[in-house]
């Protein structure tokens, strides 16, 4: 064979890529026949393709490939004349043959001949003949002998083209040689194709290879070799297109520079020229972009086979439908999504679509259905893969998440729908019961997500249990040139891709705004914009780690951007212009986990960094708006992986006066309100305000705490938090509403120097004074009771005499709650015993020989025997059979409640709702009495 590989390589490469195309077409055609049945045009095209493949492979000396294609071609012969349904057997054999041809084609990239496949080919050809024979004898009652001619008549006629002959054809390198293929074909028409090659290529191909004189003439309008001069297409190296793209990019930059000067220069002619160059370069940019565009179908069509094979492997029946495969996308991006899409499809087949039996059982059609839908939307390409399989089981996902150590039980209870589904994208996750061959391992959805995000796209997951799952990939049209918005932070300019841009908002903080207002939540400023809460992040904050505090009288320039489906506002110093920028990559080491996705050159030549909106969102933990309260929980736990003190909770933070900051458990707060000062009415000295058609008394917190009284004369508004007790409302006046924070630390009771204070709590190095709101309200009630004797008397839930002497045991490890609950109970006249954990509670119960303890109020999360264990132990103890058990906890998921009842609790309540608590107690105690 030829020793000089390089000369050989280019034509062979083209041959290989053409063959691949032909084989892909063949598959598509086969699939069409399989599904839609016989069609003359399809059969003809199939025949032609096989014919071409046979011819070209033989020309290049790939005998095995030639023989195999020849065989296939021959078996199609009768079909061209007689319409007939095609047997599954034949189709299967065809697919087998196509697979083998593809393998041969692949191997030709490295090997010079295909002779290594001789055995395989020799095995397969009889199979083909057999299948075809069966098909036609079945249909046409042709016997074997009559069929034989079909297969044996076509013989390749070889003759040698030796040096002399080739010289005879002329030394002129432009001379075209006709290579003839003879065929002794009696059945059917005489088929032939002409393959033209330039003289040089023939010579180069080494005499030995061309030992076949192939004369092939074509009568039909078949495509000649795709390399021919007649096609309207031309092959271009992708690399060349890349270079052209780069140059166009440079041109765009220069154009931007020219446009900048256009504004400075007065000359009309200059302006016209600048305008013209702008138009031309825009068109050029657009056209060049188009050269790189390829239809999504190029990748997606291949999935027919994947689905077919996978379905067979798994004994399932799956149909694949493609919609919108002509949607175009940049070639490099298409390459990048190929693997992720493959993985998604495999997953659908493997984990999504159920077995035919299961499907019938659930009333679904036996055949599972996968739909790949591609379309353009808003400057992006969207590819949706939907299946009608069993959907995603949240419970299973949660269980797997816990098993893999990604979350613990506690967090699992707090996760939102979306967060649960997104667990699938966490590294290290895989719900496969067993690792099947199909989906493999370690390739996981996290790799899919990373790959898609790498090219600037996003992955969205939607699923309904029992119905199916849809995975949506959203990908930018192209990477090289980006439309963007230029913004300023101090003196530096940055670019934000338009793809991520939602809207621009200019917000004047000082003006009373119908548009919305800025509030703090979880330590972050939020803008209430048209009903939605928008987290605000300062660009300065992002760049320098300085904290962002919007001045109360400034103007905010907000760029609302979108990341992962969630909007947030980036506050910048100045918004400048929109610009088409050329994206230049940053050095690798600068790109990792960086808030910058690249760099660009602005019109005046300055280097400007491009902001990666997604990274910024991640850094600042922007979560879906419905879950903002849960956000900090998930983060802190995923970071620390420690068991949470489940009694930690939300606190409402406010200013007591200008100096001190107070905190109150949020569960005690009914509502936060603000009133104009002039709405406050006074009765005697008692301030009150009309609230929901009744008069609500206002309690001045500052004066209750003896910290001076709130000076309402200087402000226009009064801020209060409303507490509810026995269906009445009480407003506590505070100086300023600050925030709602989730605080885990325990209340430090060391410093309690006056009534109304429970202690202090620390949050991020700030100290808040925890206010004993319940006592304050109680005190107010008592005061008024004493004064009026009649007026606002609190109807006690439980009659005093009944309550007397009834002992209630409270098991609770957090002293704050112990005290709170104790107070509520003592207020009602109960005698309260306290235990800090389950062990101590058991101890007290055991030593209660007179059985005076009638009721146990217990927390669930406690050390040394938790509430559930305590309940179970109580239930096992005959002596305690009359003891009533009420659970009092912050864990209130359905599962938790069920567990509680199962353990033996008679009632299961949320902490610190005093009315509910008292009602429940009454119910349990009445049961006792009765």
């Amino acid at each position: 064979m030829s020793k000089n590989n390089t000369f050989k390589s280019v034509p062979i490469e083209e041959f290989i890529s053409e063959s691949d195309e032909i084989l892909q077409r063949v598959q598509d055609l086969l699939h069409s026949i399989e599904n839609k049945g016989y069609s003359k045009s399809v059969v003809d095209e199939l025949y032609r393709n096989l014919h071409t493949l046979k011819g070209t492979s033989q020309l290049f000396g790939f005998t095995q490939m030639g023989l195999l294609s020849h065989s296939l071609e021959a078996s199609m012969e009768p079909l061209r004349q007689y319409e007939a349904p095609i047997s599954k057997n034949l189709v299967d054999v065809f697919y087998k043959a196509v697979n083998l041809l593809e393998d041969i084609s692949k191997s030709l990239k490295h090997n010079e001949t295909d002779l290594s496949f001789k055995d395989l080919v020799n095995e397969l050809i009889p199979e083909i003949i057999e299948a075809a024979g069966q098909q036609f004898s079945a249909n046409y009652k042709l016997n074997r002998d009559e069929l034989n001619p079909i297969f044996h008549e076509k013989e390749l006629n070889y003759s040698t083209v030796n040096e002399k002959q080739s010289t005879r054809l002329g030394n002129n390198s432009d001379a075209i040689a006709e290579i003839n293929y003879k065929s002794k074909d009696d059945v059917g028409k005489k088929e032939a194709s002409t393959i033209k090659l330039s003289m040089n290529e023939i010579k180069i191909k080494d005499n030995e290879i061309i030992n076949q004189e192939l004369i092939v003439k074509d009568n039909s309008n078949a495509n000649i070799s795709n390399n021919s001069l007649h096609d309207a297409t031309i092959r271009v190296q992708v690399q060349l297109l890349d270079q052209i793209m780069n140059l166009v990019g440079e041109l765009v930059l220069v154009r931007n520079g020219i446009l900048q000067y256009k504004n400075k220069d007065e000359s009309l002619e200059y302006a016209n020229l600048a305008h013209s160059i702008d138009e031309v370069s825009t068109k050029l940019q657009f056209q060049v972009m188009k050269t790189r565009m390829q239809p999504v179908g190029t990748v997606v069509n291949k999935f027919q086979r994947l689905v077919r094979e996978t379905a067979t492997e798994l004994n399932k029946k799956i149909d694949l439908t493609l919609i919108g495969s002509e949607t175009e996308i940049d070639k490099t991006l298409l390459e990048a999504i190929k693997d992720p899409l493959t993985h998604i499809i495999r997953n659908s087949c493997d984990h999504g679509i159920e077995s035919p039996e299961d499907r019938i059982k659930s009333g679904k059609p036996e055949n599972g259905h996968i739909l790949i839908r591609s379309y353009h939307e808003g400057g992006q390409v969207v590819i949706e893969v939907s299946d009608d399989g069993k959907g995603m089981d949240r419970a299973k996902i949660l269980a797997k998440g816990i098993e893999k150590g990604l979350i613990n039980q506690e967090i699992a209870g707090r996760l939102s729908e979306r967060e649960i589904l997104n667990l699938i994208f966490a590294p290290g996750f895989s719900t496969a019961q067993k690792i099947t061959n199909v989906s493999g391992r370690g390739v996981g959805m996290d790799v899919v997500k990373t790959n898609i995000e790498k090219i600037g796209g996003t992955v969205v997951l939607m699923s309904t249990l029992g119905k199916g799952t849809t995975i949506k990939l959203v990908i930018p049209l192209t990477l090289a040139i980006l439309q963007s918005l230029i913004v300023k932070s101090s003196e530096d300019r940055f670019a934000i891709p338009q793809l991520r841009l939602v809207e621009l908002v200019r917000f004047d903080m000082s003006v009373e705004n119908d548009l919305g207002k800025v509030q703090m939540l979880q330590g972050r400023p939020m803008l209430k914009l048209r009903g939605d809460l928008l987290p605000l992040i300062g660009l300065n904050e992002v760049l320098t780690n300085a904290t962002f505090k919007p001045a109360s009288d400034g103007v905010l320039n907000i760029v609302v951007v979108n990341s992962d489906g969630e909007n947030f506002g980036l506050v910048v110093d100045e918004i400048m212009e929109t610009s088409d920028i050329v994206v230049k990559p940053l050095a690798n080491f600068l790109k990792n986990e960086s808030i910058f996705s690249g760099a660009t050159l602005l019109g005046d030549g300055t280097v400007s960094l491009i902001l990666d909106v997604q990274e910024i969102a991640e850094k600042f933990h922007i979560k879906p708006s419905g879950d903002r309260a849960k956000a900090s929980v998930l983060d802190s736990h995923l970071l620390n992986q420690k068991i949470v003190n489940s009694d930690a909770q939300d606190f409402f933070i406010f200013k007591i006066n200008s100096k001190s900051i107070g905190a109150v458990p949020l569960c005690l707060v009914h509502r936060l309100e603000e009133f104009p000062v002039n709405k406050i009415e006074v009765s005697g000295e008692q301030k009150m305000v009309r609230y929901r058609n009744i008069l609500m008394p206002l309690i001045d917190l500052a004066s209750e705490l003896k910290l001076g009284s709130s000076d309402l004369s200087s402000s226009e508004k009064v801020s209060i938090f409303v507490m509810e007790k026995s269906n009445r409302y009480y407003g506590i006046i505070v100086n300023e509403i600050l925030d709602v924070l989730f605080i885990e630390s325990a209340i430090d009771e060391a410093i309690r120097d006056r009534f109304g204070i429970l202690g202090n709590i620390i949050y991020k190095e700030q100290i808040f004074t925890v206010i004993d709101a319940i006592s304050i309200v109680n005190k107010f009630l008592n005061k008024t009771n004493q004064v009026s004797g009649i007026l606002i008397s609190d109807t006690k839930n439980i009659e005093a005499d009944k309550a007397k002497k009834t002992k209630i045991l409270v098991a609770e490890d957090v002293s704050f709650f112990r005290r709170q609950i104790g107070k509520i109970l003592e207020n009602e006249g109960f005698e309260v015993l306290m235990a800090e954990d389950g062990e101590k509670a058991i101890g007290l119960l055991n030593s209660d020989h007179k059985r005076e303890i009638k009721l146990l109020l217990s927390d669930i999360e406690m050390p040394n025997k938790n509430g559930l264990e305590l309940a179970r132990e109580v239930k096992r103890n005959e002596k305690l059979s009359k003891l009533k058990l009420i659970a009092l906890t912050t864990k209130n998921k359905e599962a938790d409640v069920k567990e509680g009842y199962a353990a033996g609790f008679d009632d299961y309540l949320e902490k610190l709702n005093s009315d509910k608590l008292l009602q429940a107690i009454k119910k349990q105690l009445d049961i006792i009495r009765d």
Binding site: D492, F589, I595, L601, S608, L609
Partner: protein, 158 residues
């Protein structure tokens, strides 16, 4: 021009190498000319927030973006007056790096005979980037191995 020593040393002349030399904090350093794409005067720099301290910023080099590296910071040298700055531009695969230096020296032909192993007196920090030292009549030229520098920068981030 080097003096030609005895025959044995004839071969060594062939091994003369050319180096681009420059000063950082008044010390003379050199890089093999082959590694240097060009030398340019100071260009306006865009800072990259949150980048390592030896990344001084990004520079526009005739339409290409080059990452400016401060060798002074990389080598942990003392701060010196940075009155004049020059850029020594080197290419590594698809990345352009500009090493910011104080001023440029001559291009020197240096021969093996002048070569010495790097002295122990150099700090750990620099030692890993140095491939050797050449002694001339006037000065000591410390040769920086550009590959080592760039690989080290790229790897630090991995």
């Amino acid at each position: 021009m080097q003096q030609i020593h005895s025959d044995k040393n004839d071969l060594k002349i062939i091994k003369d190498k050319q180096f681009t030399t420059f000063y950082i904090s008044n010390h003379l350093y050199g890089i093999d000319v082959i590694a240097v794409q060009e030398v340019t005067p100071a260009l306006s720099m865009t800072k990259v927030p949150h980048s390592p301290n030896y990344v001084q910023g990004l520079i526009n080099l005739r339409g290409q973006i080059s990452t400016a590296i401060s060798l002074r910071n990389l080598f942990n040298l003392d701060k010196y007056e940075e009155s004049e700055s020059m850029n020594v531009v080197c290419r590594w695969e698809e990345n352009l790096f500009s090493f910011v230096v104080d001023r440029i020296g001559d291009v020197m032909n240096l021969s093996e005979s002048q070569y010495e192993e790097p002295p122990d007196t150099l700090s750990e920090h620099i030692l890993k980037y140095i491939s050797g030292v050449y002694k001339t009549d006037k000065a000591l030229v410390t040769i920086i191995d550009v590959n080592k520098v760039i690989q080290s920068i790229l790897q630090i981030q991995k």
